[in-house]
């Protein structure tokens, strides 16, 4: 490509992109995020997830079917705790899990999410319910 050609292409590209506009401004959502960051929830609200997870754990432990194999019991217990913690996080902290998920998949997130933020949150909360069900199944195993 010659210098003049490149200059022309660059100018064309500049003109072309001058026409591009955002359909919806990102400012309101940005300000909402910043407002949310600035405002801290009361202590009792922040402890609700931990309290509920603990409550669920106590309920599920009652249903736990212990076997004579100590190793199996430990494995089941580890899986139960893991499923409970993951499930609780998915339900109560979907935005944090979405962030972690995007970091993990990396490559795909670069292309942008297909779902809207609301759809993502709903999906992650549903996954949370799924994890709690797994925890329940582990108890009954």
């Amino acid at each position: 490509m010659k210098e003049n050609d490149l200059e022309r292409e660059l100018s064309n590209l500049g003109n072309e992109f001058q026409k591009e506009t955002l359909s919806i401004s990102l400012i309101p959502s940005t300000l909402r995020i910043l407002k949310g960051q600035g405002r801290k929830a009361p202590l009792f609200l922040r402890t609700i997830p931990i309290f509920l997870a603990l409550l669920l754990f106590l309920v599920l432990v009652n249903l736990f079917s212990f076997t004579t194999e100590p190793l199996l019991n430990i494995t089941k217990m580890v899986f139960l705790v893991f499923s409970l913690i993951t499930g609780t996080l998915f339900i109560f902290k979907p935005e944090k899990m979405i962030k972690a998920d995007k970091k993990m998949i990396g490559r795909l997130s670069f292309r942008g999410a297909i779902a809207t933020p609301l759809q993502e949150t709903i999906l992650f909360r549903l996954q949370g319910v799924y994890f709690i069900l797994i925890a329940f199944l582990i108890c009954k195993l």
Binding site: L6, L13, Q18, T30, A113
Partner: protein, 181 residues
């Protein structure tokens, strides 16, 4: 920096989100276009823009006002874009996602769009200092003097960077040409 901008920055630094919103409104469209040139697709450009907005707010206390608010934000956007690229090195910048409805014959239109896309991709792959000058010169249509003032570099440096950037672009575009046969 304009007087109004100074006032808004000062208020935003104190946590006034309304002023911060006004500041963002003055640069949003321009920044979006830069993000779009770099990312090549609207959704990723939007994500990058939102990340930039949040990063601007977090680093607002470090903004001394020596450059314009736009230049400051623009540098943050470029920094985030390169961080993103480093993280996802293997990702190919999307090809021909911005094709518009053809006005020429399909073959001619395709070739024209392909050429444009190659140039855009080549810009996206440039190192940050060269990218800055190319975008400011051809997208923002700033003069050498204005670029120098915005980036706080000498006019001679702007010219030499532009020269080097165009050389790199030509090399990059010919590589694409060879690859596509």
């Amino acid at each position: 920096m304009a007087e109004e901008e100074v006032l808004l920055v000062a208020k935003a630094k104190k946590g006034d989100l309304e002023s911060f919103g006004k500041l963002l409104a003055s640069i949003e469209a321009k920044l979006f276009r830069v993000a779009l040139i770099l990312c090549g697709e609207r959704e990723t450009a939007k994500d990058l823009l939102q990340e930039t907005f949040l990063a601007i707010y977090q680093s607002l206390s470090r903004f001394s006002g020596k450059s314009s608010f736009y230049t400051y934000s623009y540098c943050i956007l470029l920094h985030l874009y390169h961080k993103m690229r480093r993280k996802h090195r293997k990702i190919l910048i999307p090809l021909l996602e911005n094709l518009r409805a053809p006005t020429l014959s399909p073959a001619k239109s395709f070739r024209k769009e392909e050429k444009k896309e190659k140039v855009r991709q080549a810009i996206a792959k440039l190192p940050s200092p060269f990218q800055e000058v190319i975008i400011l010169r051809y997208l923002e249509e700033l003069t050498y003097q204005e670029i120098a003032r915005n980036l706080k570099i000498r006019e001679g440096t702007v010219k030499s960077r532009l020269f080097k950037a165009k050389k790199l672009l030509r090399g990059q575009v010919s590589t694409f040409d060879k690859r596509s046969g």
